[in-house]
């Protein structure tokens, strides 16, 4: 059980500032995922919470108690790394029991604690094996078991499944989420993988350049990105972003390409500023027949992915990618393109910030 608060955290490595005024509250029992590219500051933030990294200034508190000057061992927090770091000469049982050696506890209490985590992680049958006889997924389960056996206040994970293959990652995602729910522990998880973030998090913290870009539920981050960076970091294929100019008849994509949209949409947009339209592939509508709110275009590429297709169409200087059911259009074919204006985003081209619709 732990509520973690970061206030005005600054961190310099020499002259380089890697964390710029980070403020974040992680509620008790919450699963928070820090998402960003390498070098964005996500791992530094996690290590600062754990006490593996000092901060230059600011406060870190756990359940209201300032901990930034406490040693890692005194913070009652467990940490799981991408590399498994198990003791190769010990059995799985001994590895999991290892953190309990400092705790005064009867042998039977210790054994029941180890068996309980092993049961939760589904590795009871492996307890007598050495780590060298385990698969990658099982090794990471043991590492998580070792982190959990002390019943820490919070579990911090740094790309814990980044080294596993795709199928195992999928399976481990579900297990980690179940584990979090059954233990009701506060979890902070670092990844660069947007699918992991979307599928695990109660809230996602998107970081870039040492700054928090957006903090929100997966649904908020996906559907209401606060800026262009977030918009293009989450989602696959990435959100289409196009320079547009609002005109009386609709949105101009440059050249002759004018997409007619309802006047109400255009009138909400500010004048005299360079704007960008953001539209997710599933909100681009491509059809072989025209209609209101569409413009003629041509299919330049199709990626058949089995369950759906990614269809590229050109509008002026822009290529828009659309997500469609398989087999609806052909490459080179003339088509009509429209957008679902309910799901259109507009950004200030200079600042990258999303323009919130007022109506």
């Amino acid at each position: 059980m732990a509520r973690i608060e970061l206030r005005n955290i600054q961190k310099f490595f020499g002259a380089v500032q890697v964390l710029k005024d980070v403020n974040l509250t992680i509620e008790d029992g919450e699963f928070v995922v820090m998402l960003g590219q390498s070098g964005c500051g996500k791992t530094t933030t996690l290590r600062a919470i754990a006490g593996l990294e000092t901060v230059t200034s600011g406060t870190i508190s756990i359940d209201g108690r300032a901990v930034q000057d406490l040693r890692a061992a005194d913070r009652d927090i467990a940490f799981v790394f991408q590399s498994f770091s198990l003791y190769p000469h010990m059995t799985v049982y001994e590895n999991i029991a290892f953190p309990l050696r400092a705790v005064r506890q009867s042998t039977s209490d210790r054994e029941s604690a180890v068996r309980e985590v092993a049961r939760v992680l589904g590795i009871e049958r492996l307890l007598n094996r050495k780590p060298s006889a385990l698969s990658g997924g099982d090794m990471q389960r043991v590492a998580i078991g070792r982190a959990l056996v002390r019943r820490p206040k919070a579990l911090l994970m740094d790309e814990p499944i980044g080294a596993l293959d795709a199928k195992l990652r999928e399976q481990m995602r579900a297990e980690i989420k179940r584990l979090h729910i059954s233990r009701n522990s506060t979890s902070v998880y670092v990844t660069h993988d947007q699918i992991e973030a979307m599928s695990l998090a109660d809230r996602i913290v998107v970081m870039h350049g040492g700054l928090l870009q957006q903090v929100g539920t997966p649904e908020e981050v996906y559907n209401r990105p606060s800026n262009l960076f977030v918009a293009q970091f989450v989602g696959s294929p990435v959100m289409n972003v196009a320079e547009i100019a609002p005109q009386s008849g609709g949105l101009s994509f440059g050249g002759d390409a004018m997409l007619p949209v309802a006047p109400g949409l255009v009138s909400h947009l500010p004048e005299g500023r360079a704007l960008k339209l953001g539209i997710r592939p599933e909100a681009v509508v491509v059809s072989e027949t025209g209609g209101a709110g569409t413009v003629q275009s041509r299919v330049t590429n199709i990626e058949p992915l089995g369950s759906h297709e990614i269809v590229d169409v050109t509008l002026g200087a822009t290529t828009l990618r659309a997500r469609m059911e398989p087999g609806r259009v052909r490459t080179g074919a003339p088509v009509w393109v429209g957008i679902d204006t309910e799901r259109a985003h507009f950004f200030d081209a200079e600042s990258g910030l999303a323009l919130r619709r007022t109506a």
């Binding site: 599928s199 996906y222 293009q232 989602g235 990435v238 997710r280 990626e303 058949p304 089995g306």
Partner: protein
């Protein structure tokens, strides 16, 4: 003409058999993707065609001619690797000119300039020509290394995971660029990857490789909709195809105590492994089967629901707006015309046996 044909290729590294009686045909001008896991023999196959690997047996034909005795340089193939090996001290132009200045080729300065300019234009790196390569981004470097392959105008391009080291956004855009490049050049492309999205989205044909053997060759839709066996079925699609052991009886499927309809299956009774893709499982009240929701993954555009069926788990993809809760009991069915049946022992697709 650059049709590639491999006949009965065997290659071992010590006790490790990398390729086993491999037969493979890549037609002239085709974009062929070899899909397989680490150690399946993908890279060995490419190196065999390039002439970088001495084979234990079998023959390699390019354009109908046996190139077994030819050196790598004589084979007129270009190899693009995941690790772009550019000359860091040279400019982009210097790197692109380099293969044309080799001693065994003699090109006039005008010819060199023309080829470099054309390649740069094709790859949209003209504005970078005078830059040092160490100042380029990863995607730009990979384009330069492809450019270095293009300038020689080879008839065959061999690409070994060229996109794997790039970030997701860049991979997306280079996939499209590579396909365009292929149709502009009209050359034969053999592309090796472990990434099923790359294979599906780029290949005219996909060859699925497993432990040095070619398991199936077909168009992306052949591989996705008509897999030869359960291995192929699970190598494309994300989440992968659900495989559920059950019985075929009276033209319907019996799984976990439920009966679900299947179309076009013979009225024999037998145990089978049913295969159904997550997008063909439907959640609906009144549907024939029931299970508990084990996990929900919100991927923005869709949700992936995992159902706990006791012995197995079932993935279902549903629209993002679908409301379900973890541990809720839901009714589910499937699209009866999209269900495959496999032999539970051999894994073979019974419809293709």
């Amino acid at each position: 003409m650059a049709r590639i044909e491999l006949k009965g290729i065997n290659k071992s590294y010590g006790a490790q058999r990398a390729l086993r009686d491999l037969d493979l045909v890549v037609e002239d001008g085709e974009f062929f993707v070899l899909l397989g896991r680490t150690g399946a023999g993908k890279t060995t196959t490419l190196r065999a065609i390039a002439g970088l690997e001495k084979l234990d047996s079998g023959s390699v034909l390019i354009g109908g001619r046996d190139v077994g005795g030819w050196t790598a340089a004589q084979r007129d193939v270009a190899l693009v690797l995941q690790q772009y090996s550019l000359y860091p001290r040279l400019t982009v132009r210097g790197n692109l000119e380099f293969p044309l200045r080799s001693k065994i080729r003699s090109f006039s300065e005008a010819e060199i300039a023309a080829r470099v300019d054309k390649a740069a234009k094709t790859l949209q790196i003209t504005h970078l020509l005078d830059r040092k390569v160490e100042r380029l981004s990863g995607g730009e470097m990979q384009r330069v290394s492809i450019g270095r392959a293009i300038v020689r105008q080879p008839s065959v391009f061999l690409m070994d995971e060229p996109l794997s080291a790039l970030d997701a956004k860049l991979r997306e855009s280079l996939r499209v660029e590579l396909k365009r490049l292929h149709s502009d050049l009209g050359a034969t492309f053999l592309f090796v990857t472990h990434d099923q999205v790359e294979a599906m989205s780029m290949g005219d044909k996909i060859g699925v490789l497993r432990q040095g053997r070619l398991v199936q060759v077909g168009t992306p839709s052949d591989i996705y909709d008509r897999p030869l066996n359960t291995f192929v079925a699970r190598s494309v699609g994300s989440p992968p195809m659900n495989l559920i052991d059950g019985r075929l009886a009276g033209g319907a499927a019996e799984i976990g105590g439920f009966r679900l309809p299947v179309d076009g299956k013979p009225a024999v009774e037998r145990t089978v492994t049913f295969g159904v893709r997550p997008e063909n499982v439907t959640l609906q009240s009144g549907a024939p089967a029931e299970a508990r929701v084990f996990d929900i993954e919100d991927q923005g555009v869709i949700k992936v629901i995992t159902l706990d069926m006791g012995e197995s788990r079932l993935h279902v993809t549903v629209p993002a707006g679908t409301r379900v809760a973890r541990d809720e009991l839901v009714r589910f069915g499937w699209k009866a015309d999209r269900v495959l049946t496999f032999d539970p022992d051999s894994g073979h697709n019974l419809a293709l046996a």
